[in-house]
Amino acid sequence: MRTLDVKLLRDLRRLAPQVAAIAMLGAIGVCVGVMANNALKAVQVAEDRFYADTRFADVFGGAVRAPKALTAKLAAIEGVVAVDARASGVGLMPVPGLDRPAHVTLVALPDDDARSLDRFKLLAGRMPARPDEAVALKAFVDAAHVPLGQRLGAVIAGREVGLTIVGAGISPEYVYSPSETLLPDDAHQAVLWARRATVEGASGEVGAFAKVALKLARGAPAAAVVPQVDRLLAPYGAAPTVARADQISDKFITDALRRLRILALILPPIFLAVAAALTHMVTARLVETEREQIGLLKAFGFSHAEVAVPYLKLAAIIGLVGAVAGGLAGAGLAVALTGLYAQYFRFPVFAAQFNWAVFAVTSLIAIGATLAGASLAARRAASLAPAVAMRPPSPPSYRRGRLELPRLGRRLDHPTRMILRRIERFPAKAGLTAAGFAVSLALLVCTQFLEDALDRVVDSAFYRTQRWSAQLTFAHLRDIRAIAETRRLPGVVAAEPVRDSGAWAEGPRGRKQVALEGIDPDARLVRPLDGSGRPIPLEGAGVIVSRALAERLGLRAGNGVDLDVLEGRRPHLYLPITALADDYSGLIVYVDRGVLNRLMGDGDVASGANLIATADAAEKLNRRLVDLPQVSAASFRDATVANWRNITAKEFSVTVWFYLTFSGAIALGVAYNMGRITLAERARDLATLQVLGFTRGECAYILYGELAALALLALPFGVGLGTLFAQGLVQAFARDELRLPVAITPRTLAVSISAYGAAVGLGCLLLHRQLSRLDLVAVLKTRE
């Protein structure tokens, strides 16, 4: 081995903790990239295989009592290669062990499984052999603890059907199956498949279909097919026709993957940039201490490149160690993350994947980053003139600092003065350190903010805008007198009618599927709110529109909005927008129920009721609801929210720790490395001070005081930057159903600043070993 390499190895050993700290940051960057991409690949591979296996359709439509003959017309649409129309019905179903009835969707099994789409894949038990047998969604069976062989009674369109659950499995349409509120609630979201005759009998739709799925030829544009299907289904229209990209289950998966992809794009560069900056600091410091050795090597005829290469090698080693460690950790975490996803996305074959290409690319980027970090120092080493290098650098000239304000200055003790003067004397170094701290804090704020933002969304959606404790959906439009009946249900103290419908809304910038929500002007259980949380009243025939919807459509208050209602005779409406509602979930158009009824040509009708019910009567209410033939769905706020909190708490407890640790690692790495550099630069100083009678504690104060001052200085910047990051995340994560508010709450600040302080403190603690090992004699004997 060349002697320069021997020196490099010894330097490495001496610098090992610093190298490790920087490599750790590089490793995190690589790790997040590898983890996210491996998990993405795992989901993608599992999804592709499952979709192909089960012939997942491309276009999905819904209808009420559509004649079977219509399928021929659907099949004739250009680009359509297969049509699968099924009878289906929805209703409620009490399940032993559950406190409230589950929503049930009953779907007919195909006559010919081989030619069907969206095929059910059996994972346990067997397929139905008799009319009164059914197979169920595995997610439901597991969450509701329904044993195979259990007999369940579903109430569909007022008719009770008794079904024995003989098998469990999955379907590509219900990989993820959210509740009405879009929050997951597997135990109360039952999907059952039974023989066609059973389903037709239950839904009373003999010879008709309620669901249709279409498979398109490879490359056929769904966008062209969807309107044609919509037109054919219009006379029987129930739900709007959607392409796969808007299908609830697939969309949820796509969104989850998109979030992961965004993290994989944002996080690694931040960590690698910090690693590069620290590599720069460490190598620059190394060149500074070794300038005489560099000069000597040059005096002896080493070329510019030869003296510069060791610093680049050092950087490459840092990058390489980080890449390998990060790759391994990333692969491991990807397995864990894949396991986590497997709980949500129940693909039958779901195996962890290792994406070599991503590992190779992120490793190269990591090594490139540390090399870039060392390039300045290497250039400096190469350009050091040998004669200059031989002269020791003149001691840095200090001045009385501007930070020492005259009044304050007199009261400052000398150690504090030393701290302030150093910060002022080396502003670039101080600035880089503070910047590193700020980035760390910003990421910490981001990890915490997400949790608070989701909280805010739930609070706004379920406690401020939607204020009902239970919501009933009627199987068909019902006369307003039905509301009086619901008021007589056990425990109900208030009931308000609603009339909801699906619609397409159109503005100059686009067309969106929306929820048209008809409420009474004096409604108290649903109140659209403005930006400061005040309820907005409905005015005449004007509508109130979700701000996010207005933005997507390019509309403002005062404009009119075009609405194609997907119900009844499917009228086209053009209504003035009187105000925008600042809500966080759903794209909603609020309209006066009376106005909507009139425009639809209906009498005084409601599609459902919002209720306030006392908690103690909940059990009785639930039992009654199942027997009400007119009620096809019921949502309960407290249960929904509690269930959601449960799930997010579980999910967050893992990921938040994970990201908290990662983000804190930056502060730790910066504190430790900059501390080491300061310690090395000031070892003589500090040792001399100790020789002169300063205590070790006082010397420690000089060292940590500087870090603490910079950490404090970085605090407001970190919070500011964190808010910016949060805004970016909110933009990147924004979806139609969910928009996150940038809510930096006191809790967010408290947790993130505590973690930040802990990370900086830990860095100092690690430094302390070095400081207490300071060998006075050795330090004073060597000439630096």
Binding site: K298, A299, F300
Partner: protein, 245 residues
């Protein structure tokens, strides 16, 4: 005063021919003429000691002759080529092949042992001697695997001498090699330099503040205000061991 050098050294046996060498440092306070038209001839294999007041330009001359620095004007002829005109790469090659340095501050690499410090240089040399042999030459055969921190100042400087001589340089430049040593260690270092130079046939140019050291030289060059003020030849070189200060 005309240089006396050419009389004592034949043209063919010249190591350096220095003519009108000038080095000007532009500084904020005006020009500093570190060298101001210095003329000097250096014979092959002679030991030359440069004396002179602080700031008179001794180190500057050494640095230029050693290829560490560039003159503002003048000529330095080494083996028929002018160092003042040489490119960076040529200077590097020159230093790599022909020059050895010993500095006042030993400038050893602290993370390498004595042997490794020497090997660092022999690895890039064309006809080096064995590192152990070089260290034996300076009386450190029993300290091969010591790190600089485990050596005394004099021992460190002898490692530096071994490092400089191990590549068998044609010229050995020593800038105050005993400057930070006590007299006993200083004498050991001088002995090492003289012995090693004798073994390898190197020309030695040594800057010193110490007039006593001048006695080990073949010739003594006195510097004043960036010029050679006087060159005297010693009738007899005094063995380094006999020098005292």
């Amino acid at each position: 005063m005309p240089p006396a050098a050419s009389e004592s050294a034949g043209q063919a046996a010249l190591a350096f021919q220095v003519r009108g060498l000038t080095k000007i440092y532009p500084t904020a306070a005006g020009e500093v003429r570190a060298l101001d038209g210095a003329d000097l001839d250096v014979a092959r294999a002679e030991i030359l000691v440069l004396l002179g007041p602080s700031g008179s330009g001794k180190s500057t001359l050494l640095n230029i002759l050693g290829g560490l620095d560039r003159a503002t004007s003048g000529r330095v002829i080494f083996e028929g080529r002018d160092l003042v005109e040489a490119s960076d790469a040529e200077l590097t090659r020159y230093r790599r092949r022909s020059v050895g340095f010993v500095f006042q501050f030993f400038n050893l690499t602290p993370s390498l042992t004595a042997r490794e410090n020497v090997e660092l240089i022999t690895e890039i040399a064309e006809h080096p001697m064995d590192a152990a042999q070089a260290l034996a030459m300076v009386g450190l055969a029993d300290r091969l695997d010591h790190f600089p921190a485990e050596l005394s100042g004099g021992q460190q400087q002898r490692v530096a001498v071994a490092r400089a001589i191990a590549k068998r340089p044609e010229v050995l430049f020593c800038d105050e090699p005993t400057g930070s040593l006590d007299s006993a260690s200083g004498v050991q270092v001088l002995e090492a330099i003289v012995h090693a130079a004798g073994e390898t046939g190197a020309t030695v140019m040594m800057v010193s503040h110490n007039a006593a050291i001048a006695e080990i030289a073949d010739r003594v060059v006195r510097f004043r205000d960036g010029k050679v003020a006087e060159v005297t030849a010693n009738a007899r070189r005094k063995p380094a061991a006999e020098v005292r200060w």
